[in-house]
């Protein structure tokens, strides 16, 4: 009797936990997509599901679109890296926080359950009913409010957002590293010139073309240090869970050696390394 009750309880809990992880569906995958899920590197394909915690990396000519269960649509341009960092509520239909580490992102947010926070290393945009186009470069970040309303904030070096200020449709925000945000009434010419052409249009929903069971993503290999390195260098706030998540990879000597040699870039890993292998405890 006890075993049966536990089994039923587990069965009831299982879909809920799955829903809590799931963000939405990949409805467009062009030019190659790599996904880091848990500790694996997967090859993205149309119709596959995307979970919170997934890191997406598009190819040099890539164009990827994720349609969230909240109705929000997020598109990634070429050579872009996006981290689905955290969600803000229970269940699948929830707002959340995303990190655009590099490249281009267009997000049409029509969330009825909570705002979405879109971060770049220098700027954060928050919206519940709005469309944002963001670019994260090595030394600058830009954001254009295409429609609706949003909040925009500068980010500190560790990824914490300052005070959000209201942003109206048509406003353009740019920030160079070490400088304040500059507000413009229209997108800069360089921004427009380099923006992926499809971002000029409303993102078309492709959910109706996705039928049947979501395809299994093809697993390529376990994640290497080189795969993780860009993510390990992003502001500390967004990598707090990385030690727990990737600790098992320390069993890989190559991963461990690379990690140890760059430990100063991500000191939170020091505690995960045994004292005899921890460079900071040597001598």
């Amino acid at each position: 009797m006890y075993v049966t009750l536990v089994s039923v309880a587990l069965l009831l809990l299982l879909p809920a936990s799955l829903l809590a992880q799931r963000i939405g569906t990949l409805t467009v995958v062009e030019g190659g997509l790599r996904i880091i899920r848990n500790t694996s590197v997967l090859r993205g394909s149309q119709g596959a599901r995307i979970d919170w915690g997934d890191m997406l990396e598009t190819g040099g000519s890539g164009l990827v679109q994720v349609e969230c269960e909240t109705g929000a649509i997020v598109a990634l341009g070429p050579s872009s890296q996006l981290f689905f960092f955290s969600h803000t509520g229970a269940g699948g239909a929830t707002g959340g926080e995303l990190v655009l580490l590099s490249g281009w992102l267009k997000a049409e947010t029509t969330s009825k359950v909570g705002p979405y926070l879109y971060n770049t290393p220098l700027l954060a945009g928050k919206t519940k009913e709005g469309t944002l186009v963001m670019h994260a470069g090595a030394e600058s970040s830009e954001m254009f409010v295409e429609s609706g309303s949003a909040g925009v904030a500068e980010l500190t070096a560790n990824g914490n957002a300052g005070e959000f200020r209201a942003a109206k449709a048509g406003q353009f925000f740019s920030r160079q590293r070490g400088k304040n945000v500059v507000v413009g009434s229209s997108p800069a010419a360089t921004f427009l010139d380099s923006m992926p052409r499809p971002f000029r249009d409303t993102l078309p929903s492709g959910l109706s073309q996705i039928k049947g069971k979501p395809p299994e993503l093809r697993r390529e290999r376990e994640v290497s240090y080189a795969d993780l390195r860009p993510w390990l260098l992003m502001p500390a706030k967004w990598r707090t869970e990385f030690v727990t998540r990737f600790e098992s990879r320390l069993d890989d000597p190559e991963f461990r050696r690379e990690l140890e040699s760059h430990i100063r870039d991500h000191p939170e890993w020091e505690e995960a390394l045994p004292p005899d292998k921890n460079p900071s405890t040597k001598n």
Partner: protein
């Protein structure tokens, strides 16, 4: 004067009078028809331009709305698409020109010049009039034009109400000084199609020439046919009859009788002549006996 000559003279006179009358009447009719055809073509072109405008407004513009937030796309403007359509049309119909002349346009290219402004003002003062046709002198000669009033619709105000409510990219392209303050149902634009008057004149001339030459050719054919028939059916039998009558009158009674075929008047005449000849010969025989 011979019968044939008399007949031909009368026929030529009648034809000449008919030819001149037909020429005068047909020339005026053809010119009027050619002008009407030009106007009808112009009306069809205008309707097509309106259809293109409607298509652009209903189907193209919504697709480009998002793109318009990044850069101004004239392809979303109905007037632009109508002009583009007409530019394509002019490749095959180079004599026609199209304008959407506007009193206060956003794009200065569409600004009405003096005579166009007069037409728009006329439509504004006579709102019941929706179309006006006329002729005017231009540097390249006389020109026919057909103009229609265009009323401001609610959708026009998306770009022509105030600079604040207009798309940002439109202001960036054309500035905020022109093309604003339009009111719904106001007439600020006239759709004008022009064509040189030489176009209908040329068409009328061409058709007229073909018609008159055809008429002349028909006359020549009729003339030849009638003459041939006159010769074969009338003058030649009468000449033969005349020769036989001459011979008889000179006492030559051995002249053979006519072999008569048919039942027409000439055949009857031959018949009567043969009968008269036979009676005459019997009378002479009786006298000699």
């Amino acid at each position: 004067m011979k019968l044939l000559v008399k007949f031909n003279l009368v026929m030529c006179l009648v034809f000449l009078v008919g030819f001149i009358a037909a020429g005068l009447i047909s020339r005026s009719l053809l010119e009027r028809n050619a002008q009407q055809e030009i106007f009808e073509n112009a009306r069809i072109m205008m309707e097509a331009a309106l259809a293109v405008r409607g298509y652009t407004g209903k189907e193209i513009k919504p697709l480009l709305d998002t793109q318009m937030k990044y850069s101004f796309l004239p392809q979303s403007v109905p007037a632009y698409s109508a002009n583009q359509y007409f530019d394509q049309l002019r490749i095959k119909f180079p004599d026609y020109s199209y304008r959407e002349a506007t009193l206060n346009p956003t794009n200065p290219v569409n600004r009405a010049n003096d005579w166009e402004a007069d037409i728009i003002q006329y439509f504004r003062q006579n709102p019941q009039v929706t179309e006006r046709v006329g002729e005017r002198e231009t540097a390249t000669g006389r020109t026919l034009y057909i103009a229609r009033a265009m009323k401001v619709g609610p959708s026009c105000l998306e770009c022509h109400d105030t600079p604040d409510s207009a798309p940002r990219t439109l202001i960036e392209r054309y500035g905020s000084d022109n093309g604003f303050g339009w009111k719904v149902n106001d007439i600020v634009t006239a759709q004008i199609v022009s064509a040189p008057t030489k176009l209908p004149e040329q068409r009328a001339r061409n058709v007229f020439a073909v018609f008159m030459v055809s008429l002349a050719v028909i006359f020549v054919i009729v003339f030849l046919a009638v003459n041939a028939m006159l010769i074969v059916l009338i003058t030649r039998p009468i000449n033969r009859l005349s020769i036989v009558a001459d011979e008889l009158s000179l006492g030559n009674l051995n002249v053979p009788e006519f072999q008569v075929g048919g039942k027409d008047e000439i055949a009857k005449l031959y018949d009567s002549f043969n009968r008269m000849r036979r009676s005459l010969m019997e009378a002479i025989k009786m006298l000699e006996a």
